[in-house]
Symmetry: C2
Subunit: 314 residues, 2 copies
């Protein structure tokens, strides 16, 4: 059994978090991950308070295990979302796209563990001072919004910079990735892309099939010009957008090109208009199966790999 | 002691290769790495046959240990360089920027081990069919010319795709990186950025000082628009180039902007005009020391980490 301070802190069996994926991570997925022994996470990124409250209540009805909520701090209704989370006393909050400093006291008063997502050691240090309980250090090979630093380069530098437990995210889908993250100093992992292929994940059939078919050269980063790069599967939309970035199109028109494209992928499964978010590790995702089964396989493989780590030490 | 099939194949003590760095990796650096127990590598990327021959001869005089040559296949005089290498019977060739297929029989006839650098599992498979002895899978967190895939995502996917030994490159500077690479399936590592800070590396003082001062957000990738992205330290040149890529400058003028900038960094130490190549792991490079000392520290740390890999397995 692999048991780290992250398990103890969150009251979970396996030190694995499910990434908060905007417009995707709902109560069903979060509860499936939590029931499987990890920390499921509901995404509050759509900003719809009623939907978020409903999903939190639903998750409480689907699992008696801890789960969390992910808040994108540059989204809408942040104040309201932050208060809702405190009122609901979920186990944990993960935050992205900004500085959660002002909400941390309220969450901690409610007994909630706060784990900001960081993409640099500078932000990591800031989050320690703000009172974070642990950090999720995410490399730019992840899907969705990405930073510059990769997991391999980021984790040891963040671990050197702070004394908090670090959860590694980005480029991890199996026991090998977990074992590697631990060697770099992490005490837990966060997985997004592989959970997209969970039976409990309600994305369109088209989206899922594209994930299962994808290989190691299947993703692309777009949006650098506007300062918020996003990784997705190569598709008519993402390829077209990537080319357009280098034209003399206005920033406003470029921004407009992306509106509604995530919904087109997740809900409509529109191959042409959809933006199908996925990380570089998508090539290792080849099976649709229960989240719990994924988690068990990852940890059983990781245990074998860590037990055999001395293979080349004579 | 860490001993893998890569050691056996190359006749070296430690499974570590020094990256072939254009206009930097000369006989002195290569011999220092080889004398330290790794595989030093001379870069043939400047295309100057006399210089390359001279450096190879010099390396033979500086070490009785195996060393190699790196060939950039899109450079000048490739045919001549390939023949020179075969004639000199160095221990190994590493190749980048293209397909070495046509030279592999000649090199193998000369008893030379051939290790192409690959950035995707598709190229990895191609290199196996071409007769490569091992592969160097390099993630885009490395310095210099970079691919899209990161080390964390690339290594397991390449290891799944081929049966050859894989050397991991990109984002590795210490024992943690080595241990992580091994967990992903690699049997050796290649290091570039840290060796830039070796006392035996003859780059300008300015270049070295910039490396030692750099942190985890200090690098930038430029050149994507022209299809050959390069990672370097943020500098007046690289920041300026990055901005210019999104303007309506012609491709020819953009290309011209970069001419002579590597020399300006390596030889002249020109802070303004120089393009100071470095990988994302540069934040972990804080000391100038002998290459041999670096290697010993990396392997002694890695051994401890691998021996303690079961730390969280209960």
């Amino acid at each position: 059994m692999i048991y780290t301070p992250i398990c103890e802190m969150l009251g979970i069996k396996y030190p694995i978090l499910q990434g908060g994926m905007a417009h995707i991570s709902d109560a069903n997925l979060a509860a499936a991950v939590s029931n499987g022994g990890g920390l499921g996470i509901i995404s509050a990124a759509n900003g719809n308070i009623d939907w978020i409250e409903n999903e939190i209540d639903k998750a409480f009805s689907l699992t008696d295990k801890p789960f969390g909520v992910n808040v994108m701090l540059m989204g809408e209704n942040i104040e309201q979302i932050a208060e809702l989370i405190a009122r609901k006393r979920v186990a944990a909050v993960t935050t992205g796209a900004g500085n959660p400093e002002r909400y941390i006291p309220m969450w901690k008063d409610a007994g909630i563990k706060v784990m900001p997502v960081v993409a640099s050691s500078a932000l990591a240090k800031l989050m320690v001072r703000a009172g974070a309980d642990a950090l999720i250090a995410e490399g730019g090979e992840s899907g969705g919004h990405v930073g510059d630093m990769t997991t391999m380069a980021l984790i040891p530098q963040v671990c050197d910079a702070v004394d908090l437990p670090v959860v590694a995210a980005g480029g991890i889908a199996d026991g090998r990735g977990l074992a590697a993250a631990f060697m770099l100093g992490a005490q837990g992992i966060q997985i997004g892309t592989r959970f997209l292929a969970a039976t409990e994940c309600a994305i369109s059939r088209t989206y899922k099939d594209k994930l299962l078919k994808a290989g190691d050269g299947s993703t692309i980063v777009t949006g650098k010009r506007l300062g918020h790069p996003v990784r997705s599967l190569k598709s008519p939309f993402s390829r077209g957008y990537a080319k357009t970035e280098y034209t003399n199109i206005s920033d406003e028109d470029l921004e407009m090109m992306a509106v509604g494209t995530l919904r087109a992928a997740v809900v409509d499964g529109d191959e042409k208009k959809g933006c199908f978010l996925a990380g570089q590790i998508v090539g290792l995702v080849n099976k649709e199966e229960n989240a719990a089964k994924m988690i068990e396989e990852i940890f059983s493989d990781a245990e074998n790999i860590l037990n055999g780590a001395k293979k080349w030490v004579k």
